[in-house]
């Protein structure tokens, strides 16, 4: 039974809100980079640079204007490409989100 109204507690102020631009879940990041230029690195070390069309829950990826880079050298170009998600190491934003 809470008989008395609680006094305002100044002992523990709420933590300051974190900077907005650096918050969000991984999902928020992925939503943010759809339609943007990205670098997709595979576990093999090969990089794919292109515009992210879309992705799914397996992290399967559709890229447009894809360039394949191996050791920093362009080895292939594809208009569109589908990358099977299990090969993906990371997705890096290559422009401002």
């Amino acid at each position: 039974m809470d008989e008395s109204p609680r006094p305002p507690s100044d002992q523990s102020p709420p933590p300051p809100p974190p900077a907005q631009s650096h918050t969000g879940s991984p999902t928020d990041f992925l939503k943010g980079v759809v339609g943007k230029r990205v670098i997709v690195r595979l576990t093999s070390g090969v990089d794919y640079k292109g515009v992210l069309s879309c992705l799914d829950g397996f992290m399967n990826i559709a890229l447009e204007q894809t360039e394949e880079h191996v050791n920093g050298v362009i080895t292939n170009r594809y208009g569109d490409s589908f990358i099977r998600g299990n090969n993906v190491l990371y997705i890096s934003a290559a422009e401002e989100i």
């Binding site: 759809v34 339609g35 595979l42 093999s44 794919y48 515009v51 069309s53 879309c54 992705l55 799914d56 399967n60 990826i61 559709a62 447009e64 894809t66 594809y78 208009g79 569109d80 490409s81 589908f82 990358i83 099977r84 299990n86 090969n87």
Partner: protein, 96 residues
């Protein structure tokens, strides 16, 4: 977003739009395929016909001054089932 123009909402749409077209498939083990795509599923198991497989083989014996020789082997197959877990990348023909 360009996806609204091209009608692609999920990555598999790219594959669906490539059915009956000649596609390029990059596989594990330095192999690649080109062939007509007939069917696929959620594992990316593929049925392809009129397939040419290209296998890149690094030959350490033939290495000269640190540059290893890469041999390319090719073979053709009429009809092929590709197990999905070997697939790295699929590229459809250029859309017009």
């Amino acid at each position: 977003m360009d996806a609204s123009v091209t009608g692609i909402q999920e990555p598999f749409d790219l594959i669906r739009l490539s059915l009956s077209e000649r596609v390029f498939v990059k596989l594990r083990g330095d192999r690649q395929l080109t062939g007509i795509l007939h069917a696929y599923d959620g594992h990316m198991n593929l049925i392809m016909s009129d397939v040419e497989e290209t296998i890149m083989l690094v030959d350490p014996e033939g290495a000269t001054n640190g540059r290893s020789v890469i041999n390319v082997a090719k073979r053709k197959m009429e009809m092929l089932f590709v197990r999905g877990d070997g697939v790295i990348l699929v590229s459809p023909p250029a859309r017009t």
